[in-house]
């Protein structure tokens, strides 16, 4: 039975020749925690997960998983962990059933348990009807679901997921997120990397923000959001496609206006008194207010304020750095 900190990382560093990919990062993950590693492309997320799981060797620093040193006792560690990489780890030439069965065999799952668990996972991941099809014909989303199923078949205590929903459709992403939540509630520890801010916000109990190989901060999503609250934001929309940013920016208390699709984000010093001003603005311009709301800071705001990175750097594909 695991307890306390199940992942302990101290001054972990990775160089690829002269390129510093991960720079002296330290953190702990508690037993049964759902821990997120959030960062833009090339931040060092995959490199970190590879070092934590024994796929690559750190240049310096220590990794202890459930008390075992990953360098000194790798097999002990691998008995406890499950790893679903970002790049497909499933065999195109095998069927879905054979892929899961192979992973179960490699982790010493008994034949009886293997059969039952494989059937259950194929159903959970909606792959049951395609179980005897070669994986080479599967979509990216199906392969990803299969990879995660093949990781969960041996019921690891600590699961590492590298970008579990990257490139997936909404339905597949939701399925995977729900399963992660459910398994976490049943006691599995998760370490997941993601460049989707929403995903980290919805799933993770704590989030580490990594940028350019360094951990910028580690906290709960709510605390991170609070730390980003420097201004009040109000979101308003009118019944016209015309750009009103200029006129709105002249309103009292408004320091900045950002147009987002058909809405305007007003950065205001004080909420009180803003509502009559907006109603008056609409009347004067013969407009109707179609929606109005005050906005709380998002994890995206926290990310931007902590890393000074534009948020669109998060919404790309996989890290370009080759971790192998």
């Amino acid at each position: 039975m695991l307890s306390g900190n199940v992942i302990e990382v101290t001054d972990l560093t990775k160089y690829y020749r002269n390129l510093l990919a991960v720079d002296r990062i330290s953190f702990e993950v508690r037993n049964q925690e759902l821990f997120g590693f959030l960062g833009p492309n090339g931040a060092g997320k995959t490199t970190t997960i590879n070092m934590l799981t024994g796929i690559s060797k750190p240049s310096s620093g220590k990794v202890r998983i459930a008390g075992y040193d990953i360098i000194k006792e790798p097999v002990r560690v691998k008995e406890l962990i499950g790893v679903a990489p970002d790049v497909s780890g499933v065999y195109d030439e095998l069927t879905a059933l054979d892929n899961i069965d192979f992973m179960a065999k490699l982790h010493g799952v008994s034949a009886e348990k293997r059969k039952a668990r494989t059937k259950e996972l194929l159903e959970v991941f909606d792959l049951h009807t395609r179980r005897n099809d070669r994986v080479g014909n599967f979509s990216r989303g199906m392969k990803k679901r299969l990879m995660i199923a093949a990781t969960l078949v041996y019921e690891p205590k600590i699961v590492f997921l590298d970008e579990p929903t990257a490139g997936l459709d909404v339905q597949s992403s939701r399925q995977i997120r729900n399963l992660i939540k459910e398994m976490n509630q049943n006691g599995t520890t998760f370490f997941l990397t993601t460049h989707y801010i929403e995903e980290a916000d919805q799933l993770c109990q704590r989030v580490a923000i990594i940028n350019k190989g360094r951990i910028v901060t580690i906290d709960t999503p709510e605390n991170l959001k609070k730390s980003a609250q420097t201004e009040n934001v109000m979101e308003v929309s009118f019944n016209t496609p015309e750009d009103l940013s200029k006129q709105l920016s002249k309103l009292k208390h408004v320091s900045n206006v950002v147009r987002c699709a058909d809405k305007y984000r007003l950065y205001v010093g004080d909420f009180s008194g803003m509502l009559p001003l907006i109603v008056d603005f609409a009347k004067r311009n013969y407009l109707k207010v179609t929606s109005i709301a005050t906005l709380k800071p998002t994890l995206e705001d926290a990310f931007v304020s902590l890393t000074c990175e534009r948020p669109d750097t998060l919404a790309g594909e996989k890290e370009k750095l080759d971790p192998s």
Partner: protein, 245 residues
């Protein structure tokens, strides 16, 4: 402890079984493995008079050599490129055990191809010591499979791995005294031939097939091949470990 060894042995076998299914026992690879020894033999034999007892061990050796090792130049780099190798690395096995599993797949394939040639050649020539010949096939198939891993270990993709492996193999066929008695080679080439693992395979198979068996010599040749196999497997593991860092 005993249970652990049995469990690990099973996992090694599962890797071998998976590799055999995915990479080795496929129609194109079987065709390649069956055709190549004949092509190489014909390239040598057309226009010459050759004794079947001399040629058969050479053909069987080539079947083991290419059958056991050539596909390794594809399987390991391909697994590294596609990322499936990481699934093996994160399983509770050492890297050496993973490589042993991969070596066994080539070993089985090499045995099947060599036995095929051994059987179809029996009507044309007399095998004087079947047990020794079979032992020669078993040892050499394992050695050639580890040799294939050794050649492919530094590379992360097939286009990088194939050219050097092919050049080395073809050179070994001509320098390893497969179709020419080693004593007929110039002194320099004889020295090179003695450094090549294929030379010892041909020597053991030729002794067992032709009937001039010298048990002591046979055992020395076999032990040299075992030593080569251990070296290739250990070196491949070490090289792979380095390139994974």
């Amino acid at each position: 402890m005993r249970n652990r060894i049995i469990e690990d042995a099973k996992k090694i076998f599962y890797i071998a079984e998976k590799d055999a299914k995915i990479y080795f026992f496929k129609a194109p690879n079987l065709t390649f493995g069956l055709v190549l020894p004949v092509v190489l033999y014909l390239a040598f034999a057309i226009g010459r008079t050759v004794d079947a007892a001399f040629v058969v061990p050479g053909i069987v050796a080539i079947a083991a050599f290419f059958g056991a090792g050539a596909i390794q130049s594809v399987s390991l780099p391909l697994e590294r490129r596609t990322g499936t190798f990481n699934s093996l690395v994160t399983a509770p096995l050492s890297l050496f055990e993973i490589m042993l599993g991969k070596a066994l797949a080539g070993f089985f394939f090499g045995i099947v191809l060599s036995l095929f040639y051994m059987i179809i050649m029996i009507p044309f020539s007399f095998v004087s010591n079947l047990i020794f010949f079979a032992l020669g096939i078993v040892v050499s198939s394992f050695m050639f499979s580890t040799f294939g891993l050794f050649l492919s270990a530094p590379f992360k993709d097939i286009p990088q791995a194939m050219p050097p492996a092919t050049v080395v193999r073809i050179a070994m066929v001509f320098l390893g005294a497969v179709f020419t008695p080693i004593t007929t080679l110039p002194a320099v080439l004889q020295t090179i031939a003695y450094a090549l693992p294929l030379t010892y395979t041909v020597s053991t198979l030729r002794q067992a097939w032709g009937g001039n068996i010298n048990v002591q010599m046979f055992l020395i040749d076999t032990l040299i091949q075992v030593a080569f196999a251990i070296f290739f497997l250990a070196a491949a593991t070490k090289i792979l470990q380095r390139t994974m860092e």
